[in-house]
């Protein structure tokens, strides 16, 4: 299935993209996606951690992703 990936902050620089469409196996959790991303974009290992937001809400690792989800890679925030 296809999802949209958004990259922010340092992850934009590491991956070299703001937004891409991404092919994922049909049943995948947030944790599965994190594992895949670390394989496919090994530079993401340069940061200590990142969170995932699905459709503009923070997502737990066991959330199951759906077709057309908008998935954001959220490196440690530093607003304020």
């Amino acid at each position: 299935m296809k999802i949209q990936l958004l990259f922010f902050g340092i992850t934009t620089d590491l991956v070299g993209e703001n937004s891409i469409f991404y092919e994922l196996k049909s049943v995948a959790t947030v944790q599965d996606l994190k594992n895949e991303l670390l394989l496919n974009y090994s530079k993401l290992k340069n940061i200590e951690e990142f969170a995932i937001a699905v459709n503009e809400e923070y997502a737990e690792n066991d959330l199951v992703l759906k077709e057309n989800d908008v998935v954001a890679i959220i490196p440690p925030v530093s607003g304020g």
Binding site: L6, F8, G9, I10, A72, V77, G79, G80
Partner: protein
Amino acid sequence: MKKSSIIITSEKLKVQDCYDFVQDAACGGIALFVGTVRNHTKNKEVSHLNFSAYEPMALKEMQKIAALALAKFQIHKIAIHHAIGELQIGDIPVIIAVSSAHRKAAFEACEFAIDTLKETVPIWKKEHFNDGEIWVNSHP
């Protein structure tokens, strides 16, 4: 009556705007926090900053903070304004303003809001130095 004002903008933030929003004839006190861009960080001189946001989600998270503060503390109104784009030394990245009948609640809600914003709202700060730049909080 609207109890919260949530804004992300690339215009200059104004303390007076936040004050005017929360001010109310029934309130006896207003607590404000104004973030300002410092000229140094960890002994290194900062030339300027750049803030970027995942804007729709950041607005939602700021709205959640406001709703939680209104539920948790005895306050009247709350304003949370954040700037994005390039900011110079002394410029204002963030303003929180809270009004209440009694001041303790305003202080507590104001501190709660800025503490939570710095933990949850998807906004990122890049510090620029004379010899480079760094995404804050992103390096182990």
